[in-house]
Symmetry: D3
Subunit: 236 residues, 6 copies
């Protein structure tokens, strides 16, 4: 049992800090596109991580699991540390398409109040997940199961879909994809999102009435500034 | 302001020629598979460009935009030059997954009579697009937004999904994908499509009654010609 | 007509052995995730081969076709050798995205009692396939058609989605993907699947009542055995 | 023999216009990165089209071939229409990984003075191509051969690696990838390239002496303009 | 220990049949492109399985290993069953990028007379493999190591790069990729390859002297038969 | 200038902590495979990030840049904050294939003592980089250039190839790929690596003399423990 092993082996962190529930719910209502815009276009996971249950939108506090390829032991351990309102966020140490999560774990999540799953690997039993309306975002769908044999970690910082997720960060996920909001910036991201939503409501009604976005957003000057020529018709 | 800059800089072409509306609508009714067959299997975009709003089929005249990665300025400019019945076709100068188009632009399209969007990049707000039934075909879905800062072009020839699209070409798009029909060949493609549809109606009823396609299409001779042996059972 | 040509040319095998119908139907009821678990996580095709008609689950005996890129001649020939309850399984000799199968062939399948299609290439007319509820699993969707000009084989061993499929093997396919069961192991796979389903029913009700999977599955000892440390809170 | 067939069938164009040889050679000396910069970052093919013979750089006039998947007939026909100094540019009507071109065709190219090959599919015999030093750029390498059975075209406009190539356009290819220069802009692209090369020579010697690019290019003001804060050290 | 477990668990087969050494060596001299042509374009693995040690060509008898993701135990076991002249062929039960094989195993292969490695996963220590000139073909290169904990099989039929490999089949691998020849067809494939090589020698000298392949291969008639029009110049 | 903008806008951190030079160099000598093993198989970047200059191995302290797609401004700014022995590590806010770095920046790196570049996007001028022997690891190679117009950050935490990189972390990169070592664990990772290298030296000489790894590593017992059957020959 040398020091080296201790340092790089698995660890389970039982208690984490979470953002305040009202901010989390507010971010969920704003949705991924608005929230990421409010954060200057940051926090967006790799678009290859897709919703497997269309029409569902969730927001919650990240409880993270770091798993080995083909092994979902730490997903089970992570569930022990979930509170109602959480979202399970699962990373793997090397790329894997296997189905780490299926209808039984979704059943457990529902019982525990866990709002959804984001995983940088595969899920299965998607027909059941859809019937349950359980929100799941994954890189793959595969019937291939996993073992429960290898050490990993719970509630450590992980990278999922190219984004750093610290335990307690806010996860916002919908049909567009997944966005991560640092826990300490949740309120700021919310207020930015709300300002943006208000602005968009005005824009939407002007556009719906047939105004052009070049007018509404005042873009026409840029054409000139950028030196773009406008011609009537190309002789061809 | 040297000649070089002038030549390779952006340009906006205000007026384009379109195919006749009846041909466009006829091609839309025929659908992508039939239309591309009628053109000897040409015009099909890369199948990675997928419908994000299942069940929608559109046909329209291409108004093209050429954008920089992460910048949707020219999409806004292109909308100024759209007429009812057009389809917005967006290319990017290097591959990009960002969401160039969302619910606000879809609202504007609806107000302007634009029938759909084909983009060799990403879209967002797909839940809203689905609720609106607005036809959108894209390579990616991503909440990641774009800026409006760099020059591009409108109504120039672009390559989208590996196919050349000239402004005014007819775009046909459905759950199978996207097909481009050169403007000057729209009528020819339509008549070929209609001949094919008539033939298929006969085929369909014969197949539905249990006849084999090898009989209906007269394929059995080819087995002999190609020297394919037929055996009863493989001893294994 | 030398011996070499004979050996590597196409061959059509008319008669194949099938598993017993009750086993096939039982495997279909169990679904891909359960069946592959019962076979020690084997038989799962590449998850890139996806259902194009969500919500459909089929099981049947494989009738195989081996085609050239861009040529679906052998799909037609294979249909001659299909019996009610079969699933058409199509491999290509080099990767191809073309749409080998569409609504006309689906019509024929329906008339012949063929339950579904699994293809390591593309399909088309997916709107029609969805309207018919015809189960199709493919690597691609594309309007691009094929010709009928080159020799291939029917009812030979093929590789589809990285799995060997012998004619008469059982194909199980659903929203999770596709699993192959060797014909001679169908009953064994079924009995293993049924044992697993019984176990899962108990698990499901315990998890639904709020018990943790770490308790239900007895996983907590493994944390200690694997030397994973548990801590209360990370000072950060 | 209906009109439709005539229009979408194959065509071989025997005579094409070419850019002047000195411009072509000058563009080759400048290389892909410089030439595309001189054209405002346009003309770059999909970076998945890679050099299979490292260390070779070529420039030449495009003779184009449009082939069916798994069929290289039109490559042979295209060679009939090549002149010394040309580059063979091959597109396929749907994606294909097969090896369309190998050592025999390279031998023929060498005899005919053809400078290289750019293909949106596969090549083979790469050990021989490397031994010959014959420049080849392709999306794939594969031993899989092709047949010679289906119609295509020679010297029509094609799309390769997402770029439109008209016959006679200038192809510049090196270890970075492939760039297309429209025939009528070859001289303009060359003069822009040469201006850029002159500027870069100065830059290079200043950077080599240890000056910072932020000084040499005057970028430091932008930091301020963009509102980027600079801090000494992050307390962590 | 139920029957089910027995059937789907791992198995190690100690003794396998091999093709005769002279045929194997002859196939190696012919190379992958020629051998696959002699087998009517069959046996070619997915071109994503690439040579990581350029310039090496090997042929040998397949000793197969079937591994779990992230676990190379069965590679070690397989080496026990290798004879001089063999090629190690490794499949994984679900996709994995990890480095299953590195310089230590290559050292062991060299000592045992194993000629090369083909793996549908990753290798590492490629600088050492290149220095040793040890032939390795893999889908990935990655420093990520594996454990030695899970059951698999040795000398069972496996699928690698989309091709079925039975133990004792002949593997031919070079810079173009990897081809599998069924053991019982090795001599036939060799004689077909040798006929082809003889024909190609003649072709090569004719092409090198400047003759066109359309003449040498008699392709010009096909242009007419296929209804391809030839025109002098396109008015543009 | 609201608080929101301030928080999510770019920031440049001038001073960072680095690991001690002897540890860094020691890790470089050990190489990526050994170092990641010493860290229990952690820290390995996505294997799609490949060496573009074969044969080069580097280790250094990470100076990080976070860029927008198609914009390399922050690479220039990052160079101002590099010290001899550093490695430039570049992330982009959304996926991009463009060539952010070429021979001019490599020239500057050489003058400043920067040892290499790791970038989750593209590089260009690779022929020049190879001639200089400048170590560069990237996801893409592309001649496509970038602009210098948008805000980003320097020396913030970034995610590159799916791994978190904090400024000052140790980057080890060679022909196998790239590994990140947290700055505070550099010495521990080094001592683990050195123990491993010593063990491997013994292993290597035993394997080179023909001993089997199953004996040297004592793996044979596992076959029994895992219930794997061994049989002589499969009757087929």
């Amino acid at each position: 049992m040398n020091a080296n092993g201790n340092l790089f082996r698995g660890i389970v962190v039982a208690d984490i800090d979470r953002a305040n529930p009202a901010s989390i719910d507010g971010l969920g209502e704003a949705g991924t596109a608005t929230v990421s815009e409010a954060m200057s276009r940051t926090g967006v996971m790799d678009p290859a991580i897709r919703s497997v249950v269309p029409g569902v939108r969730v927001a919650g506090s990240a409880v993270t699991a770091l798993c080995q390829p083909g092994d979902n032991l730490m997903v089970h351990i992570a569930l022990e540390h979930c509170a109602p309102g959480d979202v399970l966020v699962v990373a793997v140490t090397s790329p894997c398409t296997d189905g780490y999560f299926g209808d039984l774990l979704a059943e457990s999540c529902r019982a525990l109040g866990v709002r959804g799953l984001v995983i940088d690997a595969g899920v299965r039993d998607v027909a059941a997940l859809r019937a349950m309306g359980f929100g799941a975002w994954s890189r793959h769908v595969s019937p291939q199961g996993t073992v429960k044999a290898t050490a990993g970690s719970v509630n450590v910082a992980v990278v999922v879909g190219g984004q750093l997720v610290n335990p307690g960060d806010v996860i916002v996920a919908d049909d567009d994809g997944v966005v991560v909001v640092a826990r300490t910036r949740a309120e700021l991201a919310l207020s930015g999102s709300q300002q943006r939503l208000a602005k968009e409501a005005v824009l939407r009604s002007r556009l719906a009435s047939g105004e052009l976005s070049t007018d509404v957003l005042g873009l026409r000057g840029q054409i000139t500034d950028l030196g773009i020529r406008t011609v009537g018709h190309l002789g061809q």
